[in-house]
Symmetry: C2
Subunit: 449 residues, 2 copies
C-alpha cells in the first residue's frame, strides 16, 4: 500500500512498526552453533510473519514478479552455481537420477520464472470470509482465512523447489524457512539471492524467505522442534526422510508417506473405459505417487478383461504379478507374493488381484493401501456412491485415472505437496492448505446475558 | 438402512461384512497388561470406524435417541454410581469444586438427555460435497466431508463429558475411545452401559464408543501413541494435563492451553459500549477461558473511562492491577507486575494497561496473549478491519464481549472444545472439526494425456 498524502493520526500510528526488521548477514554465522543460528532464524521468521499478515495482494504479487525478474537477470549466476553443485555431485558419485533432478538449464529456469507468474496470477486466499451469519444475540459470526504464520519446508535435491515453496508461502502470507538438499547448496544460495533481491524491491522484510545456509544436518533437528517459531513443517522427498521427520518433529507436519494407489474394476464397468484407465493409471508415468500399483478386478469380468489388459501392458513392457486366479487366467506370469500387496513399485511393475465384489476390494484397499488415491471403474450408481463414501483415501475417483490426483489437475493452480494426513489438509495442498481459518465476530456493543 | 426386499446381487454383497464386530467383555481384562488392552481397544475402534463410515444419518440419530432413552431409564443406577464416586472422592479429600463437577443430579441428567436430542437435531456434516467443479480435462472435482476415523478424548472429573463426547463423535461418524477421570469411574461405567444399550438397539457396533475401564495412568500414555489406531486426541481439562499430553503424544492433538483474552478500547470507541463490554467480558463468568484477563486502553480515553470502569468493577468486587499510568489515574490500586501481563486469573482480578494506539495493543496481545479471543472496541472502520486481519487469535472481535467465543453462541450447535492451534480447527470445535475433507473425482472414463 503506497503511503497516503492524507494520513490520519490513527493511520500513521497504525503503520509505525511496519518497517523492515533488521537483517543479520547470513553468511557470517558460526557453524559451531547451529542451534543458536536456527533460533535466530526462527525469531526473524516469526517477526516477518507478523508483518506479512498486513501486506495486501498487490505487494505480494509485486514481490513475486520482482523475484522472477531477478532470476531472469541472474541466469548465468544460476547456471554457474549449479555447475559447481553438479561437479561436486559427480565427484562424490551421486547417481544419474539424482544429478538429473539437481541440474538446471535454461528451460528449467524458464519454468521457475513461469511458475512465479502463475502464482502471482492466483487468487489471494488471505482475508476471505466465509459464512458470515447473524446470530440471535445480534453478533455476526464468520470465518476468515489467514496465513498459518511460519512454514518450514525440508526437501531434497531439486533446486526449483526453492522457488516453488517460496512463492506459495509468500502468496499465502506466510514466512518460510527452506532447507534444501546439501548437494544443491550453491544453486539454492544463488536462487536465494534472487529471492532476496525481489523481496527487497517490493519492500518486504528479508526474513520473509530464509534459506538455511548450513548443510549441517543438525539444522533440520532444530527446525522441526522450534514450536515457538514454526507453525508447520512440510517435508518433501523420499519416504525415509519423511518418516524420520514425522517421528522427531514437535511442530505439526503435513506429509504424505507413499502412494499405493488402486484401481478396482467392477463387474458392471464399461470395459473400454476400464482398459483405458487401467493402462493410463499405470503407464502414463511410473515414478509418481499417484501411479496405480495394484489393479483389483471383480471376478465376473476377470476372464474377459485380463487378456486385453495383458496385451496392453506387454506393449509398455509392464511386468505383471498376479494372484492365483490371475495367474490361472493369464498363464505365464509371475505369481504375486505377500509383499506385492501394498508395494509402491514406482516402476513398470503391477500387482493384479481378482476379488469377489466391491467389499473385498474396499477391504483390500483399507488393508494394503496408503490412503493416497483409489479409483473404481463401474456403471453401477449405488456402488459408485458407496465407493466414494467408504474408501478412506485423500482422493477417491469414479471412472477416472488415478494420475489426475494433482493440484494442477484439480484446479488449485499450484501444489506444495499431497497430504495423506487427515488433519488440516488432505489430498493436493495448494495455497488454501497454507492458511487457516479463524473466527471473526462483528458486533454493535453486544454483551452476553 | 433397513434391508430391502429387492436386494440385488451387488447390494447384498455390498452389505456382507457390515455385521457388528464381536466385542469382548471389558470388565475381565487383566490390569497387568494395559498396553495390550489399549491395543485391542484401538483395533476394535479402527474396525468400528470403517463400519460407521457407512451409516446413514437416520441410524446415527436413532442411536443418539436410544442412548437418551437408556439414560432416562437408568436414572437411579446413574445416581447410585455417582454416589459411590462422590463418597470415594470425599474419603480421599477431593476439594469442593472438584466434587461439584463430579456430582450428578436429576437436572444434570436432564441436561445430558437434552444434549443428545440437540445433537440428533444437528445437520449431519458427513458426505457434504463442496465446490464440485468441472475441469478442462472433463473430470469433476470436489471435496467431500468425511469422518476423521477414531478420536481419543481425555478429560477430567465431569461425567457428562462422556455423553457429550460420545454424541458428537457418533454424529460425525467417528469411533471414539473415552478416558475420563478416575474419580468418576463408577459414573462413567454406568453412563457407558447406557451408551452400549443405545448403540446395540440401533444396530451399531459396541466399539463405536469405548470407555477405558482401567484407571491405570499408563492407559493414557498408550492411547496418545497408538498412531495406527487413533487419528486425533482431544484433551479437555487443566493446562498441565494438556501440556503433558501434547508433549508426549504421537497422535495429532487438537487443544487449547489457556485463554488470556484481551479487550482493547480505542480512542474512537463509543464509551457506553466500551464500558458494557469491558464489564461483561470480565464479570459475566470468571472461570471460563473466554473471560477477559487484560484490558488495554488507548491513552486519549484512559482518563475519562478509567473512573467509570473502576466504579463498575468495584460493584463486582474485581481487583484491579494497573500499569503505571492506570495507577496514576485511579490512585489507590495495586500496581501490576511483569507476571500480571499474560496471567490467566480465572478469578475476579483484572490487569489494565494504557497503550499508545492500536499497534502497541496488537504488539502486547502478540507478546502476552494466548491466541484465544481478543476484541477491539472502536468506531474507526480502518482500525476495525486491521484489528480483524492482524490479530492472530482463534476468535477476533469488534464491539462484542469475548464471552461470545463459544460453539453455541457461534451457532455450531455443540462444542467439543476450543482450539488455539492453527492446523485443522481453530476456535470453537463442533461437528465439522471432527471431520476432514477428501477429494472426490467424478469421471466418464477420463485418462491423463
Amino acid at each position: 500500500m503506497p503511503p497516503s498524502k492524507f494520513q490520519t493520526h490513527a493511520e500513521s500510528r497504525a503503520h509505525g512498526d511496519s518497517q523492515a526488521h533488521e537483517h543479520s548477514t547470513r553468511n557470517e554465522f558460526n557453524h559451531a552453533d547451529v542451534g543458536r543460528y536456527m533460533q535466530l532464524m526462527g525469531q526473524e521468521a516469526r517477526h516477518a510473519a507478523t508483518l506479512l499478515r498486513r501486506q495486501d495482494t498487490a505487494t505480494k504479487n509485486a514481490a513475486l514478479q520482482a523475484i522472477a525478474r531477478h532470476l531472469e537477470a541472474s541466469r548465468q549466476d544460476l547456471l554457474d552455481a549449479n555447475r559447481a553443485d553438479l561437479q561436486r555431485g559427480e565427484e562424490v558419485g551421486l547417481e544419474a537420477a539424482l544429478l538429473d533432478r539437481l541440474a538446471l538449464d535454461d528451460s528449467r529456469i524458464d519454468a521457475m520464472i513461469e511458475g512465479l507468474s502463475q502464482v502471482a496470477g492466483l487468487p489471494d486466499p488471505v482475508g476471505e470470509i466465509d459464512g458470515l451469519r447473524s446470530r440471535p444475540s445480534g453478533i455476526q459470526v464468520g470465518q476468515m482465512r489467514v496465513p498459518l504464520g511460519v512454514i518450514g519446508i525440508i526437501y531434497e535435491s531439486r533446486p526449483n523447489v526453492t522457488v516453488e515453496a517460496a512463492s506459495l508461502c509468500l502468496k499465502s502470507g506466510n514466512a518460510c524457512i527452506l532447507r534444501g538438499g546439501s548437494e544443491a547448496r550453491d544453486s539454492n544460495a544463488a536462487i536465494a539471492a534472487c529471492i532476496q533481491g525481489g523481496l527487497s524491491e517490493a519492500g518486504l522484510p528479508p526474513a520473509t524467505v530464509q534459506v538455511v545456509a548450513t548443510t549441517d544436518r543438525e539444522a533440520v533437528g532444530h527446525l522441526i522442534r522450534m514450536e515457538e517459531f514454526v507453525d508447520v513443517i512440510i517435508p518433501r522427498g523420499g519416504k525415509s526422510l519423511i518418516e524420520r521427520i514425522s517421528r522427531e518433529a514437535r511442530v505439526p507436519v503435513i506429509k504424505h508417506l507413499d502412494g499405493v494407489c488402486h484401481v478396482y474394476v467392477d463387474a458392471t464397468a464399461d470395459l473400454d473405459k476400464a482398459l483405458a484407465i487401467a493402462v493410463n493409471a499405470k503407464t502414463q508415468r511410473y515414478g509418481t505417487c499417484n501411479t496405480m500399483e495394484t489393479l483389483l478386478l471383480d471376478a465376473p469380468i476377470a476372464e474377459v478383461l485380463l487378456p486385453a489388459l495383458a496385451e496392453a501392458y506387454a506393449e509398455h513392457e509392464v511386468e505383471l504379478r498376479g494372484c492365483e486366479q490371475t495367474c490361472h487366467i493369464l498363464g505365464d506370469i509371475v505369481s504375486a507374493g505377500e509383499s506385492d500387496w501394498g508395494a509402491e513399485y514406482l516402476a513398470p511393475v503391477l500387482a493384479i488381484k481378482v476379488v469377489d465384489g466391491m467389499n473385498e476390494a474396499i477391504a483390500h484397499i483399507e488393508r494394503f493401501g496408503s490412503h493416497h488415491t483409489d479409483a473404481i471403474v463401474t456403471e453401477n450408481y449405488t456402488l459408485a456412491r458407496r465407493f466414494l463414501a467408504e474408501v478412506d483415501s485423500s482422493s477417491v475417483m469414479v471412472n477416472a485415472s488415478t494420475r489426475f490426483a494433482d493440484g494442477f489437475e484439480y484446479g488449485l493452480g499450484a501444489e506444495i505437496g499431497i497430504s495423506t494426513d487427515k488433519l488440516h489438509a488432505r489430498g493436493p495442498v495448494g495455497l488454501e492448505g497454507l492458511t487457516t481459518r479463524k473466527y471473526v465476530v462483528l458486533g454493535d456493543g453486544q454483551i452476553r446475558g
